[in-house]
């Protein structure tokens, strides 16, 4: 795979490769379990009792989080040396941590699937330090501790590289985001017996990740890809980056309040959450303007068109998913009816895919060809396939979102809106939504096809008879 | 008249209008109070925007955006109170 070719500027950037590969492998797993859940929504006893729904969901969401983290780490290892203009502090540590994280993650997923969850809790000594059984934080306490150790080693490695190298805005913002990610995760260890306290600080992990520090990571990766593919002056890109992340934090921090409406926190959060989260689409809108204006002002036509497509795509889909679909139900009087309905699921899917899956696919699309000795990108044929996969995945995810939105609207109409007594029960409502769930499942299958095409595109054009461009790129 | 003198005059006027608004709450008959205070607020705000902020000669887009903010807030207050 890597023929010792040095198309990347620093040899140690190559540690990113296993992170990217494993991220995509986990992404496949995530989608497989997504499809299983999609079917369980329609055929309730599908795979029961082998894989109960809660297990499938745990695997689906945990794989999402872990593959995104692998992607972020790979992106960091790839871009930090180039930005800092020096080799990574310790490539050896990066390789060791890859295996530690990969094995711990795999064992955890196997644990979810192999034994009942209560048994897993017992086996891992959850009773001594209970942190399990909360949405997205289902990992056994020892896995959580492992994540912290990996994060510390990772931050040390990257932090020393940045400290001893050139401190660009992209580097510093990325570091802030990664440190924030690790610090906020510490709240995963806080699990009081008071449910409201638990939920209040649980959101410090979840919301302050996805609507806080992750936006810094996303912004800096996007800025890096745009500098590389458009050749626009760094000074201009860095100014935009500052303004975007400033808006992200200014709106996102008090925007946490939109999760405090109905969990027992004081009523004033209805006002604070509504007012500040109403502005949360703003940073995503600015990111959209940013990406398109940089590509319009590009000084060169980078031959990796696929990476540019993903960079533009992530800004559009993130704006739709996080911005538009988020705003749709962020105001307290609306959220009173939409809270915890299929509408929430619709928003979650498009936002996560647009903002965080796509930014990872963008950096992978840019970095992996370079790591494989093709700085100008994959062959034209491969890129066409990859761009097609981008459209297929984006449109099918949009379709999933639209069908879930329709399901959510109908659910609210039947189950939430009428008075007690007239309202349909939860399960009776679910039966009425079956058509939408079938449509959602169909869109999910198309999405899986898109993912297969994406992965396949990296293997297209390696055989004889490739285009001249590809042959040239392979020999440089 | 120098710019410093203009600024001083505007300052004195703003202080006078502020006291007037506070007094109005005790003197003006109830139905007229909201429009009266709203009018005073707009005059004060526009003075700050044009004179102190120095937006009189600035880009019209900027000047109108800031003025529109003031007008919007005051109009909302008047409309909601009177209906």
């Amino acid at each position: 795979m890597n023929q010792g070719d040095t198309s990347m500027k620093y040899q140690s950037q190559s540690v990113a490769m296993p992170y990217f590969v494993f991220a995509i492998v986990l992404f496949f797993g995530q989608i497989a379990f997504g499809l299983i859940m999609g079917l369980q929504y329609i055929i309730g006893d599908f795979l029961f009792p082998l894989i109960p729904f809660n297990v499938a969901r745990m695997v689906h969401t945990n794989l999402l989080i872990v593959w995104l983290l692998f992607g972020f780490m790979g992106a960091t290892y790839y871009l930090v040396p180039e930005e800092a203009q020096r080799e990574l502090q310790s490539p050896w540590l990066a390789r060791v941590l890859f295996w530690v994280f990969a094995i711990a993650g795999t064992l955890t997923i196997i644990g979810y699937l192999a034994v009942p969850y209560a048994r897993l809790a017992e086996l891992t000594g959850n009773e001594y330090f209970p942190t399990m059984g909360r949405e997205f934080l289902e990992q056994p306490t020892i896995t959580k501790a492992g994540i912290v150790l990996v994060a510390l080693g990772f931050l040390y490695n990257v932090g020393m590289t940045v400290l001893r190298g050139r401190k660009t805005v992209i580097n510093m913002v990325l570091m802030t985001g990664l440190v924030g990610l690790a610090v906020m995760f510490l709240f995963a260890f806080y699990n009081p017996s008071s449910l409201t306290m638990d939920k209040y600080f649980w959101w410090w992990v979840v919301h302050l990740w996805v609507e806080g520090v992750w936006e810094l990571i996303m912004g800096s990766i996007l800025a890096f890809v745009l500098i590389k593919t458009t050749g626009v002056d760094r000074e201009v890109i860095e100014k935009w980056l500052y303004v975007i992340i400033a808006m992200a934090l200014i709106t996102g921090i008090l925007g946490t309040g939109h999760h405090y409406f109905f969990i027992g926190a004081p009523s004033y959060w209805l006002w604070i959450g509504s007012v500040f989260s109403a502005f949360e689409p703003l940073p995503f809108f600015m990111m959209l303007l940013f990406a398109f204006s940089m590509v319009r002002r590009r000084r060169r036509n980078h031959t990796n068109r696929a990476a540019t497509t993903w960079a533009l795509g992530t800004s559009v889909v993130a704006f739709l998913g996080a911005g538009v679909w988020g705003f749709l139900h962020t105001l307290a009087p609306v959220n009173y009816y939409t809270h915890g309905s299929q509408l929430t699921a619709a928003h979650g899917h498009l936002a996560f895919f647009g903002a965080y899956a796509m930014i990872n696919l963008a950096i992978i699309s840019y970095a992996v060809p370079a790591l494989r000795g093709r700085p100008e990108g994959n062959s034209a044929r491969a890129q066409s396939l990859e761009i097609a996969s981008c459209w297929l995945m984006s449109l099918s995810m949009l379709a999933i979102t639209v069908f879930l939105t329709a399901a959510g609207a109908m659910q609210i109409w039947l189950q939430r809106w009428p008075e007690s007594g007239q309202a349909l029960s939860f399960m009776a409502t679910q039966e009425k939504l079956e058509l939408f769930y079938w449509l959602r499942f169909g869109a999910g299958v198309l999405f899986a096809v898109g993912l297969v095409l994406y992965a396949a595109s990296f293997f297209v054009g390696e055989r004889a008879g490739d285009t001249a461009h590809d042959a040239a790129a392979a020999t440089t | 008249m120098s710019r410093a003198e203009t600024l001083s005059q505007h300052w004195i006027m703003l202080l006078a209008l502020t006291v007037a608004a506070a007094l109005a709450a005790t003197v003006v008959p109830a139905p007229w109070l909201t429009p009266a205070v709203a009018a005073l607020t707009v005059i004060k705000g526009r003075t700050v925007i044009d004179s102190f902020m120095g937006l009189r000669g600035a880009s019209p887009l900027l000047r109108h955006s800031v003025s529109a903010w003031l007008a919007g807030v005051v109009a909302l207050g008047v409309v909601i109170r009177l209906t």
């Binding site: 017992e122 949405e135 805005v169 017996s193 209040y200 201009v236 400033a246 934090l249 008090l254 309905s341 | -």
Partner: protein
């Protein structure tokens, strides 16, 4: 236009703005934490309720159900299940919950299935206490109706 828009100013706004909102958020958090004992009836949070929360967590109930609207959307909301199924009668609710959990899975073909968790009567009682306590949290009157 671009030279009138400097990077230093953008950076200052980022640092200043973030610090500003972090401080404000911490202040509000302090106030909220002060208010919570009253809003969630902390005095009623007995050891049994705390044990019920552990039962809830150790069986990953949140992986199918929602609790106060958060969780998975595969099975009904349980923050108000005490009102829906117990009609405000604690003894009736406990009996109902015990019978329901022991009857799982229903094995009705094609229907969504809840696993058999093999909970003891003691654990089911604790879970019931936890759900009763949860239903009394003052949460701005959500959900809109009894169906959750």
């Amino acid at each position: 236009m671009s030279e009138r828009f400097t990077k230093g100013m953008a950076r200052n706004i980022y640092y200043g703005g973030s610090l500003f909102f972090i401080l404000l958020f911490l202040g509000l958090t302090f106030d909220t934490v002060t208010a919570l004992p009253d809003r969630e009836n902390r005095a009623g949070l007995t050891d049994t309720v705390a044990e019920g929360k552990e039962v809830w967590e150790q069986n990953d109930c949140i992986g199918c159900h929602t609790l106060l609207g958060e969780g998975a959307y595969f099975a009904p909301e349980l923050g108000n299940v005490f009102e829906r199924r117990g009609n405000g009668n604690e003894a009736a609710f406990k009996a109902y919950l015990n019978a329901w959990i022991n009857a799982q899975p229903t094995q009705a073909p094609g229907r969504r299935q809840m696993p058999q968790f093999n909970l003891s009567d003691h654990e089911i009682n604790a879970l019931a206490e936890f759900l009763i306590w949860t239903s009394r949290i003052r949460n701005n009157d959500w959900p809109p109706n009894v169906e959750g």
